[in-house]
Assembly symmetry: D3
Homo-oligomer: 290 residues x 6
């Protein structure tokens, strides 16, 4: 069961949402505060305007709750559900002033997270039937990483390490630095294993097949195969032969991902999931009758 | 001269950047902290990988400065400049460990803001020769509104009100609420003018031409013409005849915007500028020699 | 209906009040914590000791609620009401320890805000029958601006812009700077109109009648007439003739304000409302019987 | 030597000043940001407009420093100095934009604190030649207590306890509570002495002379003589005869304070010092030449 | 009645506990979040594993409440109670996931505070029958001083001043500084009495008997007798003869404390209470049946 | 090279230290602020008073720097060095007032961290010659976990996972919960592997030898052998035979640890390192001459 609280604590989520409301409110809602009495009740439907996979409705609900604790938010579809255009996702009912105050922020969260889930679901569908899992990267929106990784999961993807302190990834720049220090990969990994907690895993990037042997000797848990063609990936997977997990990255698009997955890699990481997903169009339709 | 400090104070910007670094760092950079000596020096180029308008390089520079205050960041192109693929935008030089620590966060900011500037520039180009200004909306990323509005400016756009406390906007939901209170628009605007500071302006939304007369009578400063066809817009502009500013919104895309602008409206607001701009591809190339 | 939440969000208000309680509590109430059992119940009346207009009773109520959530606060007069000496404004009932802990802070807020409302009401009364509205300035207590502007409204005044980001005000120092840049007022205002959101208004200060023509040509929304005599003000109002709003400032006192208002200006701004209002004497009388 | 850092830490002071600047800045200085180039240099004099004792110039200096770190602030008179109308207190020189940005906040602090110092100095002068020290109370502006107590010192006064955790003060409400518990004052003080650190002193309020004997028996360090006439105070001082310090409070004004002091009390506490001091009029005069 | 809220406000305590939970949670409980359904209910006993005096159970209860507000925490023994090994101190019942999430943090608080209470109780027992009170020092864990001083009280000790702003303590380094300024102790104390609030007490350190006469002349409220033998302490107590309180410090251990107390000093301060108390072993036993 | 910034960011460390200074300073240093002129210079030596391994001198240096930025701190021994009683660890020189203000907090940090390093070094020495690494646990001081884990490293130990989000640890309570769900360990681990990032490792606790086979089948990376005798541990190590890492916990003391290590386990975790290490006695000796 996907649950956003596995990604961000309730209190951190509240802070994020409260900050977003403050950002949108500024010095107060000049329009509604004066025109709409505090006791005027209304209701509205959160509704898709195009097809997609929804995520972040719970966040939207929290927005309304923080905008006015008297607002009732009822969610009609599960996180991660694929929805039709015009489908009703949730209903909000309560003081109209708070409802209007929360509207924009609630939609801003839901649109973005649903956009990510929708794009992820397209990648996941494209690799169905292969062993590959689609995972995210650290190319996320500053401040929203936890939420965006949650949205990737809602779309059927899996997550890569969350941050630099989660796992070791030795990339080309690190290898260059090791070369300048005159230290080989085998020694470097041995040093890391000695220094780090026994719970930490090590992933090493290669961009040529001839690097694989040393990486295996060093004892990497995962080998990142960067910017390789499907043919190179297939050769790499064969050479590694289960002695380490394999991850493909670079040049991944909805067009190329199936071929990449067919190479037999375990993991495909896709930056676009979080940095270039267009928002899913979601709107709020006020009920004409209360 | 566009300047991000007109949008966000230096201290708020530092907080945002520091929080983004913390988010990416987690419990410390397990890889670089152990493999790369603190005194190993390197340099790198920030470079586009596709064409676009850049914004947020100053933010990227601040990221590096906060990652390690010894890092030198030199920006080679102005904010808002249109760049070729492969163009060098900036150089960073200093301790390699800090450079790697800042890399991802710096690019995350620059890619997103440049993506917004690039899309904005396309809209602005599409309406060139008309009187219309392209403006943003409140459909921004939670937590990043100030920055994103800055990026719109860097792309040649202009800004709408920043938040609910900036100016009055009376939309359909407010009109419905007024109807339930039995109060007409003329009276409502009079009440607002009496209560609010004399510096506040009032914008009122209409979605039918027959609403315009009452809005003019009420004395709106700006009339928001929502979801109208170019022909309707043209009729509206004629009817209003300079007695209020005119803004078009709804159904605006790169395909439709020129026709909308040709109707003679003063302002066109575009949500996609901030909610659906794909990231501009920007990378960091480490120098092989120090 | 005047409502403090139109000036400051509930959460910001709570923070302000909680900080004030912490400031007064220090390391704990050495006296009451040890002498007064947690379950000793009492009640008290908040009462004026001199005549005035009350404001901030709701803030006082919040103080008591944060001092001990079991305290009941019942407000007997509306915000903005004119009260007799000795009038009971509110009753507090509940744990005596919390009641004593909140007493000083609650009164500190209520006395100050009521002091402002009282002085404002005197200015408003002095201009009754003219078209002039009495407004506040930015000469407020650091940290309490939102509350103090609310108190001005409670006293029957209106508000000027809240801060530097609310509206443009071009004062003498800006004019001097423009002169050094070799730019005229007409061009400067045109630049501002091009750069700023269309929702922003522009006010320009003059201290001589011969400056008015250029300011009108530049298209100011409001003209600030600084340190003028009533005769000069009258001449200015005539010359402007409704083409811009008019505001008088400088040399305004309870003695001079009626004459200033008689000149026909729309707005009179008074710094003393917030920087020199003496506290209204308000006390807390403990009931001898519980 | 009076030093504000004995009242508030440098970092807390910076936070307070930064928050005040943010409060006044809002979303940025719309006027100066666009009209005044970042490199335009100017200077200005901080000057009294009426006579008084100045305090808080250092705070004003910090405001300018935080508004723009390139601003130079030179203070010409010492904190606590008595000044003539029109006297130059300080000079500020540097970027004009930052100078304008800091102006209002700097003056707001300096005017308020100087107002307090000025009123305090009047009280101190009124009791010159007696043994009485003028002290403040907890009737301070929420959020500014430390600063305001500093201003009282700058005006020649002394301070009472800062907050509820500083020292024990047993007032009438505590006595009433003790009565309801069936505990006498002697026993109550004994309990307090047993429970509290040996460094804590105890002050007890009386409003009748016949209460003094018990308070002395209980061993109060200070006796607060509340709302007594000068004659009663004199009798109380005689009866106490140096066995405890004596403090007078209630009904203290510039008219009554000399008579109160003549009674021989050690301490006179005055709420008006902080809750009703009018601002000292201080302005900023821009130099016409740079 | 000892009450932790006399040492730290409820909100500060919540912040401390919430921060501790965040520190332990990191990016979420990878194990329980996935393995334990949100609605699985369980219960557990908080139980000593060795004998000691308990303190901080209320803090542990708050930990569980903040870990999951549905958890019920029932405390079975009073703060400050002496407990047997294996004694049940409290029961927790509710969602198992939250229970596991709070377990470690709750025990970390309870073990540390109970360790302090246990050691304090041993010192207090060792001086029973003398006039000496055992008090703590400022040698506390950074961030936890308020709690640790509470634990000392729970163990039967008393508290010294909480921090540098609580009371004056003139130590050898201050005396050396005075010597360099050419100022004697009598003058220094007179200066302090003139400058400081009348509520502040003064303690002066001596490490030789021949210093006592001057300290008494200066009028110290308390004399700190540092690193003296019991014989020296006895001589000091005789010489001081009730004209000031006496405090012994230095070289205090469970072995030496009785002899020190027998010298007749009023106060014995012990750094080890807070800097070297071993944790009391407390565990959480899950019920096998729900 | 051990470096505290691998455990806690510079900014987080500054916040921690600044908060500790604030905690100790209260409302200002009443004694030194008045007695010691701001320009009085002094110097002091940080010195051990008993033998031990030092850690946290850098933190002490930061304390002095934040107490007064003019203070110079020179460290004479490396973190992790074994020191004699009376050895000079560092010198501080600069304004005496700041030096006194920082003294207690600097020592509080250094004493605690050095106490942990000293105890760790004793455990590490006791297992020398075996394959076992001594690691810490989550039984740390709330708020100081990062620092304390650093101190363990300074003492020659290694670290376990930092928090619940670092790695999976399936303990007896989780197994009980799985039993209630009717899910076996093999299935549970498969579920976790499917859901979690590929970088996460899994450790499973057993307290009987007959549980090991299932744990190996499930594919644990590490097996936690809880509360086993050395003989049982040896049997477990043999059975596991390198197919997983082995960790011993429970009943570990300086007396038992050598025998435990001799069993051949890879890791021994010791709660006492952080919850019961007595402070190392470290003092500050002021120079008699400047």
């Amino acid at each position: 069961m996907i649950d956003i609280t596995h990604y961000i604590s309730r209190s951190a989520l509240r802070q994020l949402v409260a900050a977003a409301l403050d950002e949108d409110l500024g010095q107060g809602d000049l329009t509604s505060d004066l025109l709409i009495p505090d006791d005027l009740i209304g209701s509205a439907s959160v509704r898709t305007r195009s097809a997609g996979v929804v995520a972040g409705l719970g966040v939207a609900g929290l927005v309304f709750q923080l905008a006015d604790e008297r607002l009732q938010f009822e969610q009609h579809v599960a996180e991660g559900a694929a929805c039709e255009p015009g489908q009703e996702l949730a209903t909000v009912r309560g003081p109209l002033r708070g409802l209007l105050r929360g509207e924009r922020v609630a939609l801003n969260f839901a649109q973005r997270l649903s956009g990510i889930a929708t794009l992820t679901a397209q990648y996941v569908a494209a690799v169905r039937g292969t062993r590959a899992r689609i995972v995210d990267t650290r190319k996320t929106t500053p401040g929203l990483r936890a939420m965006e990784k949650y949205a990737v999961r809602a779309g059927g993807g899996r997550n890569h390490r969350r941050d630099l302190g989660d796992a070791v990834m030795i990339k080309d720049n690190h290898l260059a630095a090791l070369a300048r220090r005159g230290i080989g990969l085998v020694q470097a990994v041995a040093e890391l294993r000695d220094q780090l907690p026994h719970t930490v895993t090590i992933e090493i990037e290669v961009d040529r097949l001839d690097q694989i042997a040393e990486v295996l000797e060093a004892g990497a848990n995962t080998i990142l195969l960067d910017n390789m063609t499907p043919a190179q990936l297939r050769a790499a997977v064969e050479q590694i032969d289960g002695r380490a997990q394999t991850e493909a990255s670079g040049g991944v698009s909805l067009h190329s991902v199936a071929a990449i997955a067919a190479s037999g890699v375990d993991i495909i990481s896709v930056g676009a999931l979080t940095h270039s997903a267009p928002a899913l169009d979601i709107g709020l339709d006020m009920a004409t009758e209360d």
